[in-house]
Each structure stands twice: as C-alpha cells, then as structure tokens.
C-alpha cells in the first residue's frame, strides 16, 4: 500500500494540475486524507479507480461533514500615538494597547470518501471535497458515475447536509420527505417547534392513577367489582 505522499505524487504525475493536498490526521489512527479540488475531482477519481497499481475499485463510505463559520478572536498588541496631558503639558506619547480582533473564518460543507481496493485488498484512501461556502455555493461534482455505491450515500448527504452533487443521475431526498425544507444534519439546524398536543392513552392512565391514589376506592377491575358487590348488598339490606 502506498503512503499518502506517494499517492499524491502519482496523482500529480497522471493528472496534471490536479492540485491535491494532504490533510494529516493528528489522531492515533493514522488515516490521512487527500483534499481534492472541485474542478479536477472526476479525473482524479477515475485515475484512482483505473490505475492498475492502486485499483481503488470499491468506494465504501461517503459521509458529509459540516464545518460552520468559525469566529476567531485574536489579541493583537497595537502601538499608537496618543495625545496626553502630562504635568499640564500636552505631549504625544506612544502607547501599547491590546486589542481583540474578531475574524470570521468562512465555513464549508465537506464530503469524505473512503476508498478500498477489492482487487489488491488495501485501503483506506480517504478523499475529501469541500464546497465554497455553506449558503449558496454548495455544489460538488458527483462521483456516482465512477462508483455506483455513492448513489444513495450522496443522496443522503444532499438530503441531510444540502450539498448539491452535480452530475448525480437521481438527486432527490432519500430519508426525509420531499416537501421537507431544511437539512437536519447541519450543526446550526434548529428543530421546528410545531409539536401538536395529542391526547394519548397515557393521560387516561394518569388520571386513573391519580384517582386511585386520592380516593379509597380502587380503580382496578377487582376493586370495581368489590364496590359493585358492596353497593348491591347495601341495597339489599
């Protein structure tokens, strides 16, 4: 099995201008990934599948990941010239002030592909593709024409994350219903507060239980029968 660096150089030799970047995984699993550019992704994927040495013929898993906008607060020391009155005389003095700059790192949506080779029995090789932003430019090229196993999984990501896979043969919602508007797997999704009150059997049971606790007369069948028998004998006397 080639390392990520070797795969990267193999891709760059075969697909000029592919622009693949390596994303190192800091965890102990050692599964590093390759970040593809949207433009050349189809060519790179075709190469990875058809190259006799890599032969990544099996696309196992496609997952969506949401990376929302990140607000990064940085503390910067700024030196400014300030006019101050010292001992009754106006002077221009250099003063160092600490300022917090807030910077918003734009978020994106990501599709992660786990590839294996059934022929060579190696893997995984992990590909990642990123959208421009999370709002309107959410297109990614679909890899379904290359690996059919992406068909339902990309539909699921379209459904739950809202990534639009261009070139997908049948891009519809898969788990949520067609009229559904939002994308529930996004980090900022808020559940709609539209639950209707429905009387259920529980309320009746609860009422009966409360009645049972408060009064002396039980509400079970035997208690009711006993009560009936008591009133019957009472009437007889």
């Amino acid at each position: 099995m080639k390392t990520v660096e070797e795969i990267k150089s193999a891709i760059e030799a075969a697909v000029p201008g592919a622009g693949v970047e390596i994303l190192l995984n800091p965890g102990p699993s050692g599964q590093h990934s390759l970040v593809l550019r949207r433009e050349g992704a189809i060519e790179v994927a075709t190469f990875l599948r058809d190259d006799p040495e890599l032969a990544l013929d099996f696309l196992s898993n496609v997952s969506g990941v949401d990376w929302p906008d990140k607000e990064i607060a940085e503390k910067v020391k700024v030196t400014r010239q300030v006019v101050k009155t010292v001992d009754g005389v106006e002077q221009t003095v250099d003063e160092t002030v600490e300022e917090t700059h807030k910077r918003v790192e734009p978020g994106y949506l990501e599709a992660v592909y786990h590839l294996y080779s059934m022929e060579k029995k190696h893997g995984p090789v992990i590909l990642r593709m990123r959208t421009v932003n999370r709002i309107d430019k959410v297109e990614l090229p679909s890899l379904t024409p290359i690996w059919r196993s992406a068909e339902f999984q990309e539909r699921e990501i379209f459904d739950l994350y809202g990534i639009v896979f261009t070139g997908h043969p049948d891009l519809r919602r898969i788990l949520m219903w067609d009229g559904f508007k939002d994308h529930p797997m996004r980090r900022d999704y808020v559940e709609p507060d539209d639950f209707e009150y429905e009387p259920t059997a529980h309320d009746e049971v609860l009422a009966r239980a409360q009645e049972h606790k408060s009064g002396e007369q039980g509400t079970g069948i035997r208690d009711q029968e006993a009560a009936k028998a008591a009133t019957a004998t009472g009437a007889g006397q």
């Binding site: 995984n25 800091p26 965890g27 102990p28 699993s29 599964q31 075709t46 599948r49 058809d50 032969a55 013929d57 099996f58 696309l59 196992s60 898993n61 997952s63 990941v65 992660v112 786990h114 059934m118 022929e119 029995k121 995984p124 992990i126 024409p145 290359i146 690996w147 059919r148 196993s149 992406a150 068909e151 339902f152 999984q153 739950l160 043969p169 898969i174 788990l175 949520m176 219903w177 529930p184 797997m185």
Partner: protein, 394 residues
C-alpha cells in the same frame, strides 16, 4: 493477484453508463401499471416501499423509497457522549446487535489507540460468530417464507436462533439489545458455565444445518424460483459497493475478516465460500456455507479462549475525551461491511458520527437485479439481499 471482476470493470468503465440500471422498453401496447409495493407489504421486512412500473407482470422500473423509520441516529449520537451511543447501536440492525457494538467499539478504539485484552477479543469473536449463525439462519427462513413455505422453515431457524439468544441473555442480560462491548473490552466476563453452555449449543448446530439443508437444497420450489433469478454481475457488485454474502455470492473474494484481520481473526482457520452463478440460490447457499465456517471458528475460539481480564484496566471510562482526529473502523457484519466514521474535536461528544450501513448500500443495485423479472420474483430478490430497516433508515 488480479481478480477477474475488476479486470472486466475497468474494460467496461470506458463505456458510458455501464453501471446504471438498463432501460427496458415495454413490449405490449397497453399502459404501464404503477404499483407501490409497501410500506406495509408483508415481504418488505418492515416499512419500505418499492415504486414499481409493470408491463403486464414484467418489472420495467423500480424505485426504492426509504425513510419511514428515520430517526436521525447520527444527529442523536453527535449530541451525546461516546459511550451513550453504544446502546443505541443495538437498534441499528436489531438482529445483530453484538456486531454493531463491535464495529462501534472498534472505530472508537482506533480513534483513541486503545488496546483490547486477549480474553475480550475471544469473547467478541465468539459472540460475533454466534450472531452470524442466527442472522443467516433466520434470513434463509425469511427467504423461504417469501417463497410460500409458510412458517415451517422459519420456525426451524428460529428454534436454533432461540438457543443462541438464550446464550446472549445469559451473558449480557438481554436477548436482542445486548449493549455488551465497551471501548477497551467487554462489559462483563463470561463464566465457565456460560462457556460450557455455548460449547453445547455449538455442538448441536451442525445437526441443524444438515437437517435444514437436507430439506431445502434439492427442494423443487426453491430451485425453480431461485436459480438464474436476480443475477448480480461481479463487476457491478464491486462498483456498487455491495458487501457481505451478497458480494461473495457474486464470486468476489472479499471478506473483511480476511482482509483487515481485525480483532484476532488471523488466528483462526476458515474458508471464504464463493458463488458461481451469482443468483438467489447462490446467496442462499453462501449463507449456509458461512454458517458452517462460523461453527469452525467458534470451535477453535472456544477451545483456545484464555483467562484474564475482559477490560483493559487502563481504559478510560469517565471523562472520555478522545484527542482531535478521525478514524474509520469497519467489520464484516453478517449483512456486509458495517463501518463507523468518527471525527473528534476533543470534546466528550463526537463531532461527526457516521454509520456505513450495509443494508442501505446493498439495496443500490436492487433495481438492476429486478428489471425484467416478474413482480412475484421481486419479493424473492429483495428477500435475498437480507436487510433490516432499522439500519437502512437509521
């Protein structure tokens, strides 16, 4: 070694759309009948719909519709701690809760670099193979049920399954929702009495398999309705990510127990059965043979199981916060490749928790297999895929 399947797939890949379902023209003049099979059709094993277009009896188009059981398992898991998702994985494929536990535990162990003690590994193998036997037996029973053998084969399978579920109950406290594995081992140790009981059950399974096979193998109805039916070509199976017995019935030698050697599977001798005809009968036969191989693994594991702890004493349970990173762990579940993809950002909850459900992905080629067949055969082809809707919809 180069497998013939991928050679063909590379050649075919040059043609546009080779991996799409073929377009079948209706030959009659009449209208197409659009039929919704499901979501309450008894053959769908749950709530699943197939929108079928029929030309007479022939299937011209088939679109599966999912989501009736969708509860967004992944979102729920992202809102709770790592350990709290463990009981919830039981509910994915509720026939095989122990393999679900194992896949999730394996992914988390990869994420944090956690080792598992010897005895726990043996117990995991024993439980996974018992799960495989009961899953395959009941899936064959359900398949026969759909062929019209009402009840009897299913009850034979369930009789055997019951014994295995009793073992699960004895060890984990629950028959189906076992919630047994932990990150770095297993929850409780197995007693010597439990291991003896397991040996006794395992020694009785070959007799059941022989009996089951004697009844079924040359059964006229099974042969007439399954041979040459629902053929799945190996190159398409590989391309569509089909895994498990479905893939091996299509003749592709790919068993994750052999490929990844996860756990301690490299210590056991077992063979991987492969199909020749790629049809429903092969899928039935592969499951039968896999039961026999599982019995072999169980006998070896029960003989060799060592003593010792079942939980790594250094494993962190409280305040479990994996370092930032990601991991994809997968196992050979009875239905195919079950994987968990986890991204950690250093917090107690997973940042991303993804289940790779074999049942859903094995359904990708349902349309390809069913086109051109009669509508009655769709039920069988669907039954031979062996899915559980709890996992498809998640």
């Amino acid at each position: 070694m180069s497998s013939p399947a991928t050679d063909i797939s590379i050649k075919l890949a040059r043609q546009e759309g080779w991996n799409r379902p073929p377009v079948i023209e209706p030959d009659g003049e009449g209208e197409l009948l659009e039929l919704a099979m499901g979501p309450h059709h008894p053959s769908t094993h749950g709530v699943f719909r197939m929108d079928v277009a029929l030309d007479g009896e022939r299937v011209i188009r088939l679109k599966p519709v999912f989501g009736y059981l969708h509860r967004n398992h992944e979102k729920i898991a992202e809102g709770t701690s790592y350990l709290a998702s463990m009981p919830y994985t039981d509910r994915l494929d509720y026939f095989c809760s122990l393999t679900n536990n194992w896949a999730y535990a394996l992914a988390v162990e990869k994420l944090v670099g956690q080792a598992v003690p010897e005895r726990a590994e043996y117990l995991r193998v024993i439980l996974a193979e018992l799960t495989r036997i009961q899953n395959h037996a009941s899936s064959i029973g359900f398949l026969l049920q759909e062929m019209g053998a009402s009840g009897t084969p299913l009850m034979y399978a369930f009789r055997e399954r019951e014994k295995i579920l009793d073992l699960f109950e004895g060890l984990t406290g629950s028959r189906m929702m076992c919630n047994y594995m932990r990150f770095g081992g297993c929850r409780v140790d197995a007693s010597a009495a439990w291991l003896d009981a397991t040996r006794k059950v395992v020694s009785g399974i070959p007799e059941f398999v022989d009996e089951f096979e004697n009844f079924l193998r040359t059964n006229e109805i099974l042969m007439a309705r399954s041979q040459g039916m629902g053929i799945l070509r190996p190159e398409l199976a590989v391309n569509a990510g089909v895994t498990g017995p479905m893939l091996r019935a299509s003749g592709v030698n790919y068993d994750i127990r052999k490929v990844d050697h996860y756990g301690i599977y490299d210590r056991f001798k077992f063979r991987v059965p492969l199909g020749d005809h790629w049809d429903i009968y092969d899928r039935y036969m592969i499951r039968m043979l896999e039961i026999r191989e599982s019995i072999g693994i169980l006998e070896q594991a029960l003989k060799e199981i060592p003593g010792g702890p079942v939980m790594d004493p250094k494993a962190k349970i409280r305040g479990f916060r994996p370092k930032p990173g990601e991991a994809y762990g997968r196992i050979e579940a009875p239905k195919g490749e079950l994987g968990f993809y986890l991204i950690s950002d250093g917090s107690p909850n997973p940042y991303r928790y993804r289940v790779r459900p074999p049942s859903l992905i094995n359904l990708t080629i349902l349309e390809d297999m069913c086109l051109g067949h009669n509508v009655a055969d769709v039920v069988l082809i669907f039954g031979s895929v062996d899915i559980v809707l709890g996992e498809v919809d998640r």
